[in-house]
């Protein structure tokens, strides 16, 4: 009897762990090119808005299109293979589609314009040290929950009215 119970309990725990891990791995984001944020933001001192052009005007900041990459990567820069890959995309005209990393559920209405252009929040508040990464993270560096939002809103004396974000 004890064997059954302990075995079953351990088994269920392992099962849940495996399933959760698998789900997490399955949901991980992979980018077409190993983009080096650190290189671009720290070494080259590029502005975030260069590659995320709508960060101050739109709901979503936008991701770089191949045209934006092409501003610099017309010819091969540096020695990294990623750089070579980008040049490959640029010269061949193949579509280069970066994938969204930080996602919110569809019933959350968040605008970057309000937080970046009006409230002037630093990107790192929500995105963590993304600017310092050298390889594309596979999942968000900050887990954004409603409490995460509310905490900041309360701290900043901003509206915590439900319909401001859910509508």
């Amino acid at each position: 009897m004890r064997a059954w119970l302990t075995g079953g309990a351990a088994g269920i725990a392992i099962g849940i762990a495996v399933a959760v891990t698998a789900a997490r791995w399955a949901g991980a984001v992979t980018q077409p090119v190993a983009f080096d944020h650190r290189k671009h933001t720290q070494d080259l001192k590029l502005d975030c808005a260069l590659c995320h052009p709508n960060v101050a005007v739109g709901q979503h900041p936008g991701l770089p299109s191949v045209e934006i990459c092409a501003m610099c990567h017309q010819t091969r820069l540096g020695t990294s293979s990623a750089s070579a890959q980008v040049t490959g995309y640029v010269t061949s005209g193949r579509p280069l589609v970066f994938r969204k990393l930080f996602g919110l559920p569809p019933y959350v209405f968040f605008t970057h314009r309000r937080h970046v252009a009006i409230a002037k929040l630093p990107c790192a508040d929500c995105h963590g040290d993304i600017a310092l990464t050298t390889t594309p993270p596979r999942r968000p560096l900050v887990t954004i929950t409603m409490n995460f939002c509310l905490h900041c809103h309360l701290k900043m004396h901003q509206s915590t009215d439900c319909i401001a974000c859910h509508r």
């Binding site: 709901q59 559920p105 569809p106 019933y107 209405f109 605008t111 314009r113 309000r114 252009a117 009006i118 509206s159 009215d161 439900c162 319909i163 401001a164 859910h166 509508r167």
Partner: protein, 227 residues
């Protein structure tokens, strides 16, 4: 804190239903199939109610556009078991779709029948998804939905005003129905702000509210010669 309200001049209403369609367009209100409409499941947050009396040629007909009354004492809020509907500080009765469990108690409590239920998941032809308003949820099935005075427009207006560094003006925030009304029968604004037209119109001798005796304190006023 503003207290948003609406004044609808029934003597100016031609019953054209532009408000209805504008509302549906603005708020991604699902269209139901004809058989569903026959069952009485059509949705229209803003609904032009019609009353026909008499017989030809002495027929009389009146219209009353009916949005959510955004009561100050909302019966629907009191009964929601999960706080999915609540009264916001600016007087808008909000509905939080991801929290709603779909018990429809609020709908039963609302004397104005202003709340709508998603009997099925909304169905649009794929091509028509393109015209959906990205600022408003597409409600999943099984939740209640209701007029929010186009609250998303308020959010956007506030954002624009802040970006421009100026206070919110009356003209900045108008719900879609008021915007579309060709006779300007629908007036919207802050009931407590003397600079807004609604705050004077609501004291008009013609002003009345729907089922005022229920004590729900609606923030939608009707102007009409006939009581």
């Amino acid at each position: 804190m503003p207290r948003w309200g609406m004044v609808i001049d029934l003597d100016r209403c031609t019953g054209c239903a532009a408000c209805e369609v504008a509302c549906k367009s603005e708020n991604n209100i699902a269209t139901v199939r004809p058989d569903q409409a026959d069952m009485g499941r059509a949705m229209s947050w803003m609904k032009v109610e019609t009353k026909i009396e008499g017989d030809f040629p002495d027929t009389r007909l009146s219209f009353a556009p009916r949005p959510c009354m955004q009561c100050d004492n909302p019966p629907c809020v009191k009964v929601c078991p999960v706080s999915a509907t609540y009264l916001s500080p600016e007087g808008i009765v909000g509905q939080i779709y991801p929290r709603c469990i779909g018990c429809r108690y609020c709908a039963n409590a609302c004397p104005y029948t202003a709340k709508y239920f998603n009997w099925f998941a909304p169905a649009w032809p794929d091509s028509e998804r393109a015209h959906l308003d990205p600022d408003v949820s597409v409600r999943p099935r099984g939740v209640m939905e209701k007029c929010t005075f186009c609250d998303h427009r308020l959010q956007q207006a506030k954002e624009n005003a802040r970006a421009a560094g100026r206070p919110l003006r009356e003209s900045d925030f108008q719900p879609a129905c008021a915007d579309a009304c060709p006779t300007r029968a629908i007036v919207f604004g802050d009931l407590d702000n003397p600079a807004h037209r609604v705050s004077t119109l609501k004291n008009d001798p013609r002003a009345t509210r729907l089922m005022e005796s229920l004590g729900t304190e609606p923030k939608v006023y009707y102007l009409t010669q006939k009581a």
